[in-house]
Each structure stands twice: as structure tokens, then as C-alpha cells.
């Protein structure tokens, strides 16, 4: 993978489901910052406390874990569309959200929107749009897998109905069929490079060739499924090979995400530019990802030794 040592932001990735190997590889591939949207865990939660602890882990442990690899971790907080369908629980979660959305490093309300496009999903989507507006935070919209085009357009129309400015809304999981509608309305159009189900990166190259780099954002949405935490740098590499300009790549794989989510006031380039080498032995980051006796990493992260040797010390 040749990316000319560019820096990348992956503005949609679910790191709680990923391993330390992924963090090390991401750092090595040039990813300096990530945004982890709150979503569902592959099965529905049944208790309010599960939401509370999940949100806490996004602003606590996961942020800390990322820092060990020299990656700045931000998140968006919200009630996802699938779980909005448990109305009794959703009501309680709505009361919890104000405690979290103003925390440090929370760069938006997300990922929210429609899944089956039920009445309950609609209700909690609208309530969260109002909350985002009140807190002056960007919104990260998950668009549905099924009935996608209509669902995407509906997401935007409802956002406008609730008086959100298009520049404060990132519409995610776009494809060839939705991109025109999103860009024409002035929203940010994010694309998820996720094998088999969402976009492939060859298709992504074609999108940038056709639509340019303005308001287009690439992410991985890597999670507990078969997905790729290096989707952003790999896509950048492919774009380079296929003749897309470094400037355009920089926009879609870094700058646009920073501009969009930076509107929260919680994400600045200086957050990672001031502190580029990791020092796991350093006081601030000293911790127990290093279990007793492990050697701290100073400077460049070593690649995963798993396949290099049969010896485990």
C-alpha cells in the first residue's frame, strides 16, 4: 500500500469491536484520528445501564486504548435506529443523552436515522435532531440498508424540517444511487468501504472521478462483522494508483471529515499534530494495556509479531 505517507482520518469505525493489532496497523497506515459513532452491538440491549456503560466506554476506555497507539479517538453519541424500536427503553435512553453529548471529544449526535423506517424510529430520530440543534452539534446519519434511496431522501427532508443546516449533517453509507441527491441538497456525503454489503473502493474511485472531492468523505465503518479497518488508507492508495490528485485524496480521506466534525469545536488538527510520536512509557499514557512487565513502545509501533515467531514471551 503506497500512500505517500499521507495522514488519514477514519470518521466512522467501531473500535470497541476491534483488536490492538488493528490499532497498530491503522497507526502504521497513517490514520491519526478516528470517530466512533455509538451504534448497536449486533444484538439489542435490554437495559438502560447497558447504554450508559457503552457510552461511558466510548469516552473512557476506548479513548484511552486508542491513545496508546498514537491515535486520537472521538465519538458521536446517540440512540441508533434499530434500538429506537424498543420504545420503553428508548424513552429512558433519551433522558441519558444530555449527560453525554456535551462531553469532551463528542463531535456529534450519531449514528441516528432510519433502519426499517418505523414510526418509533421516526420519533426518536426527530427528537435527536432537536437535541443536536440545541447543543449545536453535527449529526451523523445512518441511512437504511433496505429501501435505501427513499430512506436517504426522507432522512434529509426530516432534518431540514427540523431546521438543521445541511452543513451540520453528515449523511452516511451512500452509494451511486444516493450521492447526487445528497450533494445537491448541500449535505456531506460519506461513503463506507465495507466488503460485500456497502461500497467497494474501486467504485469509490469512480465516484470521486465523477463528483470530485467537495463534501465527500470516505470511512470504513469497520465493526464486529467482516470489515476492514484499513479501508480508508487502502482506498487512498487505490485512488493514487488511478490518477486521482493528492489534493482530492487529502480532502476525501482527511480534510472533509475534519471540517464536518470540527464544527463541534471538539476536534482540531492540533490535537494530533502537537503530539505525533507515541510513548507508551510516558506518564500521561502509562497504563496497563502493558500488562506487568511488557516493554513499552517508544516511537514507531512494532508490527504484530504473531506470524513472525512461534515464541511467546
Amino acid at each position: 500500500m503506497n500512500t505517500l505517507n499521507m495522514k488519514f482520518i477514519d470518521p466512522h469505525i467501531h473500535m470497541t469491536s476491534r483488536t490492538t493489532d488493528d490499532y497498530a496497523a491503522m497507526q502504521k497506515a497513517g490514520i491519526v484520528a478516528i470517530i466512533e459513532p455509538a451504534f448497536w452491538l449486533g444484538q439489542p440491549r435490554t437495559e438502560l445501564g447497558s447504554f450508559k456503560d457503552y457510552y461511558s466506554s466510548l469516552i473512557g476506555w476506548e479513548r484511552f486504548r486508542a491513545s496508546q497507539f498514537g491515535i486520537k479517538h472521538y465519538c458521536t453519541i446517540g440512540l441508533n435506529s434499530k434500538e429506537a424500536n424498543n420504545e420503553a427503553l428508548a424513552e429512558e435512553v433519551m433522558d441519558l443523552l444530555p449527560l453525554f453529548i456535551c462531553k469532551e471529544g463528542v463531535v456529534g449526535v450519531g449514528e441516528i436515522g432510519y433502519d426499517d423506517q418505523t414510526a418509533a424510529e421516526d420519533k426518536y430520530y426527530r427528537l435527536q435532531l432537536d437535541l443536536a440543534k440545541e447543543a449545536n452539534l453535527p449529526v451523523q446519519i445512518h441511512t437504511p440498508h433496505r429501501d435505501k434511496k427513499a430512506g436517504t431522501i426522507r432522512s434529509m427532508e426530516v432534518a431540514l424540517e427540523h431546521k438543521l443546516e445541511p452543513h451540520m449533517v453528515i449523511v452516511d453509507h451512500n452509494n451511486e444511487e444516493t450521492v447526487r441527491d445528497v450533494l445537491d441538497r448541500g449535505f456531506w456525503a460519506a461513503f463506507t468501504i465495507y466488503p460485500n454489503t456497502k461500497m467497494g473502493n474501486e467504485r469509490m474511485v469512480e465516484i470521486v472521478k465523477q463528483y470530485g472531492s467537495e463534501r465527500i468523505i470516505v470511512n470504513s465503518a469497520a465493526d464486529w462483522g467482516i470489515s476492514d479497518p484499513l479501508a480508508v488508507p487502502k482506498t487512498a492508495s487505490l485512488m493514487l494508483e488511478q490518477g486521482i490528485s493528492v489534493d482530492d485524496i487529502h480532502k476525501v480521506c482527511y480534510q472533509n471529515a475534519l471540517d464536518a466534525f470540527g464544527q463541534s469545536g471538539q476536534m482540531k488538527e492540533s490535537d494530533w499534530m502537537d503530539n505525533t510520536t507515541i510513548d507508551q512509557s510516558q506518564k500521561l499514557f502509562n497504563n496497563s494495556i502493558l500488562r506487568g512487565g511488557q516493554l513499552p513502545t517508544i516511537g514507531e509501533i512494532r508490527t504484530n509479531p504473531i506470524f513472525d515467531s512461534n515464541i511467546i514471551r
Partner: protein, 296 residues
């Protein structure tokens, strides 16, 4: 007692804050403090507590030796060396909350703990020795020692007199062990020598054996709380240290023997007259070993 302590502490922290923060930040904090003072539910605390870094920044405080001295006179063991501006603001807010009703006060504070992010946890744990009704937070602080976030752990365990004053022995021993286990220096644990105990000495010796069995080393600081409890078992560890090729381990062994009244330990020390002399003359003490452990 506490009624004087609280306004004095707030005044001291405000003085530190005003010296380091912008006028706008100081103004913001004043307003929020007033809100918090008249708050009945704690809700007026939650928002400014979270939002503090946005308004006051996160720079490290630079404290004069005089200010550090003032801090420790105000509250024995209070040491804000590693504090940041947002942490200072958050602590001032915590101290401004009405505290006449211990249950209401602790409920509000514990709710903050329950939804805190990394920076908020650091501020909360480091503020514990200053808060009213300290007895209400023992379980939370004991839980805090189980954290895997290094900076959060350090906020409780290092430069903080709260564990020394409030932890039961089992929790104290876990704190000391975990500090070693996570590769941090013991010499910042407040009250380390005063609270050493036979059970801790046994655990530390066992830990050293476990490490040695795996072909690993242990920090020479480990022997500091062990020294006063050298017995017929532990004396063989001390002999092993004296036989080591590492000079710092000899120094640690000699220091441990100095703390012991066990006859064989005294005899061992006599076999190392140079080290004995250095200790007697104050040229060698546990702080030196701690400093070496940090730079190693």
C-alpha cells in the same frame, strides 16, 4: 474544622486558577460557581463540569515551590503538581456544591463518577482528599483502583493522601501491588511506609518469586515496604538481592535491612559496610532508588 478548610481551599485553588487562566475563563468559572452554589439538584453542576475544558483549556499548571508548600500546609499530602487548568476548574465546582446533606452531596458526586469521561475521572479521583464527607467515597475509590486507564489510576494512587487515610488494608495492599505491576514508581504513593504491613510484605515477596520463576526482574523499590517485615522466609530474598549483579539491588537490600530488627538482616547489613555507611550518612535512601526506577 471542615468549615474553615473548605473556604480556604477554594480561595487557594481560585488564586491558582486566576493566575493561569484567561480573564474570560475566570469569568466563566465565577458564573458557574454561583449557579452551583445555589443548585439543589446537581444538574447545574453536570454541564459546566463536563464543559470545563472548552472554556478554560487543558494546560498543565506551573506551580511555584511556595504554592506547593501552601498546598501541603492546607491539606497534608495534597500535591497538585500534575494538575491541569480544567481539572482545577472542575475541582472548584465540586467544592462549591452545597454539602450540608451528606447523602444528597455524595449522590450527586457519585452520579458524576458513573458517567465520567477520562479527564473527568482524573479530576474526580484527584479531588477526593479535598471533598466534604470523604467517608462516602471509599467504595468508589476502591473501585477506581481496578481501572486500566493509566492516568485515572495515577490520579488515585499517586500524590494523593486519600487512599492512605481511607482504604482498608486489603485495598491498600492491592494499590501497592498494582502500582508495581503496572510499572509505576512507588515513591509517589503517599504514606507508603506508614501503611506497610506483614501481609503486604508477604504478597510482594510472592510476587518477586513469581517474576523470578518466569525469568523476569522486579523493581528494587518493591523491597521498601518489605524491609520492616523481614522474617525467616523473606531473608532468603534479601540474600538473593545481595548476590545479584545489579548494584541497585544491593542498595535496596541494604535499605531493607536497615528497616528491619530481624537479627540476620542486621548481620547481613554488617557484611556491607560501605552501603551501611552511605545509608547512615544520608547518601542513600529509598528516594534515590525511586528516582533510578523512573529514569531506568
Amino acid at each position: 474544622m471542615y468549615s474553615n478548610f473548605l473556604p480556604n481551599t477554594i480561595a487557594f485553588l481560585e488564586q491558582l486558577f486566576d493566575r493561569q487562566a484567561t480573564p474570560a475563563a475566570a469569568q466563566w468559572l465565577k458564573e458557574k460557581q454561583n449557579l452551583v452554589r445555589s443548585s439543589e439538584t446537581g444538574k447545574d453542576l453536570y454541564l459546566p463540569f463536563s464543559a470545563a475544558p472548552r472554556y478554560v483549556g487543558k494546560s498543565m499548571l506551573s506551580l511555584t515551590p511556595d504554592e506547593l508548600e501552601q498546598a501541603s500546609q492546607l491539606r497534608k499530602g495534597f500535591n497538585p503538581t500534575n494538575w491541569t487548568t480544567d481539572q482545577l476548574a472542575r475541582t472548584i465546582l465540586l467544592l462549591s456544591l452545597p454539602h450540608d446533606n451528606a447523602d444528597n452531596y455524595s449522590k450527586t458526586i457519585l452520579k458524576l463518577f458513573g458517567t465520567a469521561d477520562m479527564g473527568e475521572l482524573v479530576a474526580l479521583y484527584a479531588a477526593l482528599p479535598l471533598l466534604p464527607h470523604p467517608e462516602k467515597f471509599v467504595a468508589q475509590a476502591t473501585e477506581g483502583i481496578r481501572t486500566n486507564m493509566g492516568n485515572v489510576y495515577e490520579a488515585i494512587a499517586l500524590n494523593n493522601p486519600y487512599p492512605f487515610e481511607n482504604f482498608i488494608e486489603a485495598a491498600w495492599n492491592q494499590l501497592v501491588l498494582k502500582t508495581i505491576f503496572t510499572g509505576k514508581s512507588l515513591h509517589k504513593i503517599y504514606g507508603l511506609d506508614e501503611r506497610s504491613n506483614p501481609d503486604l510484605a508477604r504478597m510482594l515477596s510472592d510476587y518477586a518469586h513469581e517474576r523470578w520463576a518466569a525469568g523476569r526482574t522486579v523493581t528494587p523499590e518493591l523491597w521498601r515496604p518489605v524491609g520492616p517485615y523481614i522474617n525467616e522466609t523473606i531473608i532468603s530474598d534479601i540474600k538473593k538481592l545481595f548476590a545479584s549483579e545489579n548494584e541497585t539491588e544491593h542498595e535496596a537490600a541494604a535499605l531493607a535491612c536497615t528497616q528491619s530488627s530481624y537479627p540476620e538482616a542486621q548481620a547481613l547489613l554488617d557484611q556491607h559496610p560501605l552501603l551501611k555507611h552511605k545509608i547512615k550518612e544520608g547518601q542513600l535512601n529509598w528516594s534515590h532508588i525511586g528516582q533510578k526506577a523512573i529514569t531506568a
